[in-house]
C-alpha cells in the first residue's frame, strides 16, 4: 500500500509526453524520468528518454554552454540495443576534469556537467552503469579509484570533497548510499566503512526525504539490520512530506519497491 501511495505521488509529475518533471507541473527532464522509469518500470518514461538521445549518444539538459549529463543514470533504465550502446560509449568517453582547464592526474570519475570535476554521485552512476550494462569497461577501475580517493576520513562520502583546506569533511547519507551501490563487492573496506557512516548518521539526517529514501535503499540492498527501522521512518516521512521532488519520491519508491534490483550489480 505504501508503495502504491508513493508511486501515485511520483506519477503526479508525469507529463503527457511520457517524461517526468522535476516536480509536478514541470516539463519533462531526463533525470526524474530515468528515476521514475527505474522505480515504476514505466515504459512511457523509457520511450520518452529514447526520443531525447543526442547525436553524441548522451542524455541531459543543455543550459547555455553547460551540458548537464544524465547519461549514466539513464543507461540503467534503457533496454538492450543500439541506443544503449551509444549511450554507454558516451559514458566511457566522459571524464571529470581535475583542474580548471586541465585534465590533471587520474582518477577522473564523472562530472555533473561536461568538462567539470568528477563528483561522488555522477561518478557512482557512471560506475554503476558500466558495471551493470558493460562490465568489461576499463573505465570502471577509474571510477572506483575516484570514489576511493573521495572517501571521507570516517568512511562514506559527501558530494566529493573529503578534505578542504586541512579540515576533514564529513560524509552525507544520501551520497554515501549512492556510492555504496556503485562500489558493492569491489572492496570490502569501502562498503564496511560506508555502511558504518550510514549507521552513524541516518537518524540525524532523516529530516530529508531523499536522504531517508536513499538510506533505506542501501540498507535493504545490503540486508542491513537498520533496514526495518529506516523503512518505518520513510513511511512516516512520506506521509508527512509536502514536497514534490520527483527524484526524492522516486528514490522512496525505489527503496521499498521492486525497482531496487536495478541498482544491484550481478
Amino acid at each position: 500500500m505504501v508503495f502504491d501511495t508513493i508511486a501515485a505521488r511520483v506519477r503526479r509529475a508525469k507529463t503527457s509526453e511520457g517524461g517526468y518533471g522535476s516536480v509536478a507541473g514541470g516539463g519533462p527532464e531526463p533525470e526524474p524520468t530515468a528515476m521514475a522509469a527505474l522505480a515504476l518500470h514505466d515504459r512511457d518514461a523509457v520511450a520518452w528518454l529514447l526520443g531525447t538521445q543526442t547525436t553524441e549518444g548522451s542524455f541531459g539538459t543543455q543550459a547555455g554552454s553547460v551540458f548537464s549529463d544524465d547519461t549514466a543514470l539513464v543507461c540503467l533504465s534503457l533496454p538492450d540495443g543500439a541506443q544503449l550502446e551509444r549511450a554507454l560509449d558516451h559514458v566511457e568517453a566522459t571524464a571529470g576534469v581535475n583542474e580548471r582547464g586541465a585534465a590533471g592526474p587520474p582518477p577522473y570519475g564523472w562530472p555533473w556537467t561536461s568538462g567539470a570535476y568528477g563528483w561522488t554521485e555522477p561518478t557512482a552512476w557512471g560506475v554503476l552503469a558500466l558495471r551493470t550494462r558493460r562490465p568489461a569497461s576499463e573505465r570502471i577501475a577509474d571510477g572506483i579509484d575516484a570514489l576511493a580517493q573521495r572517501e571521507c576520513a570516517e568512511g562514506g562520502w559527501n558530494y566529493g570533497t573529503p578534505e578542504s583546506f586541512g579540515v576533514a569533511e564529513p560524509p552525507f547519507v544520501q551520497t554515501t548510499a549512492v556510492a555504496l551501490f556503485a562500489t558493492a563487492g569491489i572492496e570490502e573496506g569501502l562498503t564496511r566503512r560506508g555502511l558504518a557512516a550510514l549507521h552513524a548518521r541516518w537518524r540525524s539526517e532523516a529530516g530529508g526525504l531523499l536522504t531517508l529514501a536513499a538510506a533505506v535503499a542501501a540498507f535493504r540492498s545490503f540486508h542491513d539490520a537498520d533496514a526495518g527501522e529506516a523503512a518505518e521512518a520513510l513511511e512516516r516521512a512520506v506521509g508527512d512530506a509536502t514536497q514534490s521532488d520527483t527524484v526524492a519520491l522516486a528514490w522512496a519508491a525505489l527503496a521499498i519497491g521492486p525497482g531496487l534490483s536495478a541498482l544491484s550489480v550481478g
Binding site: G21, S22, V23, G25, G26, G27, E29, E31, T61, A63, G64, S65, V66, S68, G96, V97, N98, E99, R100, G101, G104, P111, W112, T113, G115, A116, Y117, G118, W119, E121, P122, R150, N158, Y159, G160, T161, P162, S164, F165, G166, V167, E169, F172, Q174, T175, S204, E205, G207, G208, L209, L210, T211, A241, Q243, D245, T246, V247, A248
Partner: protein, 345 residues
C-alpha cells in the same frame, strides 16, 4: 537609529585597514575578467547607471533582539518599496553544520518575512537551492528554517528542483551564454538576497552577490555547482547576479563566519544587520566592515561598474558608521590563489 549619513573616504578606509592589517594585501588575486578594459562585457541598456545607493548599518546585538523592528526600520530607511509586490527572499543555506554558523539564521529570515508583510508585500516566499547538499529538505529542516517558516505560514521553494527555463545573459564575463533560472526567481517582483556575512576561500567574502549562486538549480549545475567554478568564480558571480538582479539585500552580520569560510570557518560576533537598496553597495559596505577593501575585491569592484555602486565614497550609509563598527575578519585560507583551485576543494 542614527539617521546621519556616512560616506567613507579612501583615506579613512586605509587607516582602518592598516590598523587591522587583514585584507589589504589580498587584492591582486589571480583572476581575469575578459575584455573589461577594452570592451564592457555587458549590455548597457540592461544595466542603467545608478545615481545613488542607500545602505543601513544597524545594530542587532543578538538573535534574541527585536529583529522584525530592526529589519522594518532598515527597509523603511532605505526606502524599500514592496507595496503590492510578490517578494522572494533568498537566504544562504548552502549546507547544514550543527556546530557551525554556515547559514543565514532563520530568525533573521522570519523577521524579514514579517517586516515585508507590514510594508504591504502581497506575498513573501523564501527560496533556496543549496549548493552542497542535494537534499534541500534535510538542510531546511535541520537548520530550523522549515519549522520557522511553518510558524510564519510562509511558503518555501526548493530552487534546485523548481521549474526553470533558460534566460539569456545580459553580461558576458563567462562563456555560459545563458542560465537556467527558476520561474520563482524570474516571476518575483522583488528578489531580496539574504546572505550570511562570511569569508570565502576563493572570493574573499561571500555576500549578497555570491549568494545568487544558490538561485541556480542544482539539477542542471550539479552539487556543487562546479560548472560555475570552472567558468571562473568571480566572472560567474557577476553573470549570475546580473541575471538574478536582487533589488535589495539584507546581510546577517549578527554572527558571521571568519577564517575557513564559507563552510568551516569560526563564529564571529559582529552584531549588525546591513540592509540596502543596491546589493553591490551592501557588499562593498559589508566587506569594509569585515576589514576588506572592496576596491581590491575584483568582483565587487567590477560589479560597481554596471550592477550598482561599489565606491564607498558614493554610498549613503545610514545608521552606524561602517568604519567605526569595523570588525576585522580573519581571511579564509586559499584566498588569493584562485588560479590554482581544483575541483575537490
Amino acid at each position: 537609529m542614527n539617521e546621519h549619513t556616512h560616506r567613507i573616504d579612501r583615506r579613512t578606509f586605509l587607516r582602518g585597514a592598516a590598523a587591522v592589517g587583514t585584507f589589504a594585501a589580498a587584492g591582486a588575486i589571480g583572476w581575469e575578467i575578459r575584455n573589461v578594459t577594452t570592451h564592457d562585457p555587458w549590455d548597457a541598456s540592461a544595466f542603467p547607471p545608478r545615481d545613488s545607493s542607500r545602505v543601513a548599518v544597524l545594530r542587532a546585538p543578538s538573535y534574541e533582539a527585536d529583529l522584525e523592528s530592526i529589519v522594518l526600520g532598515g527597509l523603511r530607511t532605505i526606502g524599500a518599496d514592496v507595496s503590492g509586490a510578490r517578494v522572494l527572499l533568498k537566504p544562504n543555506m548552502v549546507e547544514y553544520d550543527p556546530h557551525g554558523v554556515v547559514n543565514t539564521d532563520p530568525r533573521v529570515v522570519v523577521a524579514a518575512v514579517h517586516a515585508l508583510r507590514r510594508l504591504g508585500a502581497s506575498s513573501v516566499t523564501v527560496a533556496e537551492g543549496p549548493g552542497h547538499r542535494r537534499d534541500t529538505g534535510y538542510v531546511v529542516e535541520a537548520s530550523g528554517l522549515s519549522p520557522a517558516l511553518r510558524d510564519a505560514r510562509t511558503p518555501f521553494v526548493d530552487l534546485n528542483v523548481a521549474p526553470s527555463s533558460a534566460v539569456p545573459l545580459r553580461s558576458r564575463f563567462t562563456n555560459l551564454g545563458s542560465l537556467w533560472l527558476p520561474d520563482a526567481i524570474r516571476t518575483a517582483d522583488v528578489v531580496i538576497s539574504m546572505p550570511k556575512m562570511k569569508t570565502h576561500h576563493w572570493a574573499g567574502a561571500t555576500l549578497s552577490l555570491k549568494n545568487c549562486f544558490g538561485c541556480l538549480p542544482g539539477r542542471v549545475y550539479g552539487w556543487p555547482k562546479n560548472a560555475l567554478h570552472w567558468a571562473g568564480i568571480e566572472p560567474s558571480i557577476l553573470d549570475v547576479a546580473g541575471a538574478v538582479r536582487p533589488a535589495y539585500a539584507i546581510v546577517d552580520g549578527i554572527v558571521g563566519m571568519e577564517g575557513n569560510g564559507p563552510i568551516n570557518g569560526t563564529a564571529k560576533h559582529v552584531g549588525l544587520l546591513v540592509i540596502g537598496d543596491d546589493p553591490v553597495a551592501v557588499d562593498a559596505t559589508s566587506a569594509h566592515i569585515m576589514g576588506m577593501d572592496p576596491a581590491k575585491m575584483p568582483y565587487i569592484a567590477v560589479a560597481g561598474r554596471f550592477l550598482g555602486l561599489s565606491d564607498l565614497e558614493r554610498i549613503d550609509a545610514v545608521g552606524e558608521d561602517p568604519t567605526s563598527v569595523m570588525t576585522p575578519f580573519a581571511p579564509a585560507p586559499g584566498f588569493g590563489q584562485t588560479g590554482s583551485i581544483t575541483g575537490g576543494q
